[in-house]
Symmetry: C2
Subunit: 150 residues, 2 copies
């Protein structure tokens, strides 16, 4: 964790992006690292945890981080928490909290709050459309033999 | 939306990934598309919305989708919903629901439920560690002149 915090501080100092870093560890060894690169790569999804998870999966050649641990310099935002559930590591350690992030000007807490709001009452409106037609795509999925669940 | 649903069905049919697709529209024109590529690219973050958002930001040369609309063939999972909040489009249209996704074997609903659970009671344990030390990274961020908020 000390290394993640040092990388986060360094990332803020050099102007590469926000003060966040993450490491993925497997069997006691660091297999991937990531720092926030949102502004330097024009990619709003380039949070430290996402960058580290993508790199770790590339290294492992698999879309799951079974048996891995993630060390994040700050509590994951909702996007990164979602990514963690899809990657399914064994556990996650984090240092700063969502309150610390909010105090430094990051929206994490606001986004967590939005998850509780009904669709119609959200800051970004979510509009349902063509649900019946969409079932076709799920039927194609379920009809396919040899589909790979994830 | 009809095009997003067709792309989602095609993606399931060809075995590229899950039955999901998304489009980003600006000023009435499609500027980016994405389909689910989790299993074909070994990337658990390669959901349709994430792929489309990254591509749209690349096209626009910016980390925000101001004034854009997203058409998703299914209600975004928590990871993608988080990414949408960071990208800040004007609005989101979706066709299938999280219940439809769950019925087809996708974890979206389970992950939404986990967001309500206390840290200690989650399926993937979240362990706080070294919070005081982590404040250093935020101090570096706040001390930096010319930092770019996102």
């Amino acid at each position: 964790m000390a290394r993640a915090i040092e990388m986060a501080a360094e990332n803020a100092r050099t102007g590469c992006g926000g003060p966040f870093a993450a490491l993925v560890v497997k069997d006691g060894a660091v297999i991937a690292t990531g720092v926030n690169r949102v502004t330097s790569s024009n990619d709003p999804t380039a949070h430290a945890e996402i960058v580290a998870i993508r790199e770790a999966c590339r290294v492992l050649g698999h879309f799951q981080l079974t048996g891995c641990e993630i060390y994040a310099s700050c509590e994951p935002c909702p996007m990164c928490l979602g990514a963690i559930y899809w990657a399914r590591p064994a556990r996650v350690f984090f240092a700063g909290t969502r309150a610390d992030a909010a105090a430094a000007g990051f929206d994490d807490s606001l986004i967590y709050d939005e998850f509780q709001a009904p669709l119609a009452g959200r800051r970004i409106p979510m509009v349902p459309l063509m649900r019946q037609e969409a079932r076709r795509a799920f039927r194609e999925w379920q009809a396919r033999t040899g589909r790979m669940p994830y």
